[in-house]
């Protein structure tokens, strides 16, 4: 009897230790939050720096477009915050808005996901909230920003300066990191794996393979973003109509695929 029940008792014993260690350890989220905060701040820094360099080089239109992208990102993220925290007090909403306005949204989201915070009053869970914010950042700022910077760099490489190339690389890397983080978190998320075990689970359980997978995903996403950005910039430089045709064509194909799959029914 004692040997048969060792597993059940031992598991409770170890689980309690693991939960307590996780609760009290300060290292649990350090790496993730640090990288998220670092990349976020570096990206914000390079964007502002590029903005200033555009204004000083007389590229006012391009600078205004970049500013509009940053503002649009902020606006969308504030709307997301207001929707997610709709049931919360105005003080809490203001607090969350301030996090967004101070560019601290990515590390705060990463911290909340890492510590598995649950708040039933929120419209969505912390993972979904992070995903929405990252999505907004990618759609409004990172991806179009990268295209714009590539375009300006190819058109006025002397005016844009060598720092612009570095900024493009950082933007691509930040985008890659954000996309990889979304995909990775979706895959290793416990409820996802529990509910859809045939789909979620490609990230291996082996420790070193996990890290390698994440790095590969980041690099692949960064190159993907860079390729598309360069392609769009080249089209924009040769013929703006062509760019619109290709981008419009891609969207049309996407919608056609969705329709064929019966997703709008």
């Amino acid at each position: 009897m004692r040997l048969a029940s060792l597993g059940a008792g031992f598991e409770s014993f170890m689980l309690l230790l693991f939960n307590n260690l996780l609760r009290d350890s300060i290292y649990g989220m350090v790496m993730r939050v640090s990288i998220g905060a670092f990349l976020s701040l570096v990206d914000a820094g390079t964007d502002i720096s590029v903005l200033i360099s555009y204004y000083s080089a007389g590229l006012t239109t391009q600078a205004n477009i970049l500013l509009a992208m940053i503002s649009a990102n902020m606006a969308v993220q504030i709307l997301i915050v207001l929707a997610v925290y709709a049931k919360k007090s105005w003080q809490r909403k203001l607090y969350e808005v301030m996090i967004t306005l101070t560019f601290l949204r990515p590390p705060v989201d990463a911290y909340r996901v890492s510590t598995n915070q649950i708040d039933d009053e929120n419209a969505v869970g912390v993972l979904e909230e992070m995903m929405f914010n990252k999505g907004a950042e990618l759609a409004c700022e990172s991806i179009p920003g990268c295209i714009l910077q590539c375009w300006v760099f190819l058109e006025n490489s002397e005016l844009a300066g060598k720092f612009a190339a570095l900024s493009i690389l950082i933007s691509a890397l930040t985008t890659g990191y954000s996309s990889a983080m979304i995909s990775f978190d979706m895959d290793v998320d416990l409820p996802h794996r529990k509910m859809q075990p045939k789909f979620y689970g490609y990230v291996p359980d082996d420790h070193s393979a996990r890290g390698r997978t994440f790095m590969l995903m980041t690099a692949i996403s960064a190159i993907h973003n860079l390729s598309l950005s360069v392609g769009c910039s080249l089209f924009a430089l040769s013929d703006m109509d062509l760019l619109l045709t290709f981008v419009g064509g891609e969207i049309a194909v996407f919608l056609a695929v969705k329709m064929l799959r019966g997703d709008f029914m």
Partner: protein, 382 residues
């Protein structure tokens, strides 16, 4: 986007390849000064991308490679999720957390399933069961009326809250023997937890100090811990490293064919220190614990549970996908020695061969896909 609720794996993969072709197409229309340099950069970028993808395919769990090429629609996927679900929780999630139109083809089946099980769910009061999520037409008439009939609001309130009933007592278990057995197991668990609390309270950042406290507590509970110390005599050393408050950077391997008794100090340190890394990398304690258990196959024997609980845990196991490791754990659990028997060896070799064949097939598909795109690109370029 890869998910069938997005555009599916095949569309996703094609879009990835198209993203690499796109700049080459754009370059044909560009007649600027840097076109030659750009062409070179794009070729280099493409080669790096291809190599990274190959490395990615070699790294991920190949049992999921089909998710990158699947053509299932959202409706087909949801129906499969419902039909292949291993428990009610999964089935409920598939039926009621997705769009109603996705399950249109099996509405009759879902309705029947709800009718047969809803009384049991109401008694069991599981967390996943939210009657408010069930569509009106799927509810048996008496439940529908109890819910408020036509005025029923599909909200997050539970049925009990809606109809104002106190929690109904669970069905009496007539099997006295089973009740006694469960009580004993619960008591046993509580005892283990008490010891864990005691251990944790004395924890420090120094493994030597931890070791002294662990030994003292182990000495105070010799009967309860006898099973543990007989199976893994040096578990106190592992625990002393586990309890250290440290930054875990990596997880070091321990030969999985080694028996507990043969673990040397370095092995014990590796197993203990790895806990900090698993806790840093995982979001929950149980996910970290499972990863730890699976990383070191020998630990499986300590976690062996009574039959029913093991089955329940299996569904919660984050790392259930790692079949080979799981198999290794089972082998270790069912064998009194660490030596593999011939059937297991054969099974393992067969699995490796199957994986290899799968990989070769995927690789061949990738190569033929790459050839097709090269032909397409050449066609576009000319």
């Amino acid at each position: 986007m890869r998910h069938p609720y997005g555009t599916g794996g095949m569309s996703f993969s094609i879009s990835l390849v198209w993203a690499q072709i796109f700049p080459f197409v754009a370059l044909q229309f560009y007649d600027g000064a840097h076109s030659e340099t750009l062409k070179l950069i794009l070729y280099i970028s493409f080669v790096i991308w291809a190599v990274l993808n190959l490395a990615f395919v070699c790294t991920i769990d190949l049992n999921y490679i089909h998710t990158f090429f699947c053509t299932e629609t959202a409706a087909q996927y949801t129906i499969l999720l419902f039909k292949n679900a291993t428990d009610d929780m999964m089935r409920f999630d598939a039926a009621f957390s997705t769009r109603k139109s996705f399950t249109k083809a099996i509405h009759g089946e879902i309705k029947e399933w709800v009718r047969l099980n809803i009384d049991r769910w109401r008694l069991e009061e599981q967390d996943w069961f939210k009657v408010a999520l069930i569509y009106d037409e799927f509810l048996p008439i008496e439940v529908y009326e109890a819910e408020g009939g036509a005025r029923r609001r599909r909200s997050s309130m539970s049925l009990r809250e809606v109809i104002g009933l106190a929690a109904a007592p669970a069905e009496e278990n007539n099997n006295t023997q089973l009740v006694t057995s469960n009580t004993q197991i619960n008591q046993n668990k509580e005892e283990w937890k008490r010891v864990a609390e005691e251990l944790y309270a004395t924890r420090s950042s120094n493994h030597k100090s931890n070791f002294i406290h662990i030994n003292r507590i182990f000495d105070e509970n010799p009967v309860m811990l006898a099973g543990l110390t007989s199976r893994c005599p040096k578990f106190n050393v592992i625990l002393s490293f586990c309890l250290e408050d440290r930054f875990g950077l990596s997880v070091k391997k321990v030969d999985w064919t080694k028996r507990f008794e043969d673990w040397d100090e370095e092995d014990l340190k590796r197993v203990g220190c790895s806990v900090a890394t698993f806790l840093r990398k995982r979001k929950t304690g149980d996910a970290a614990m499972d990863a730890w258990r699976l990383e070191y196959a020998q630990l499986g024997t300590l976690f062996r549970e009574v039959e029913g609980e093991r089955a329940k845990r299996a569904s919660l196991d984050e790392d259930s996908s790692d079949e080979s490791r799981e198999m290794a754990t089972d082998i270790m659990a069912t064998s009194t020695t660490t030596k593999l028997t011939h059937p297991f060896r054969f099974a393992r070799s067969f699995r490796s061969l199957v994986s290899l064949a799968r990989f070769a097939r995927s690789f061949r598909s990738l190569v033929s896909l790459a050839r097709s795109f090269r032909s397409l690109a050449l066609l576009v370029l000319h």
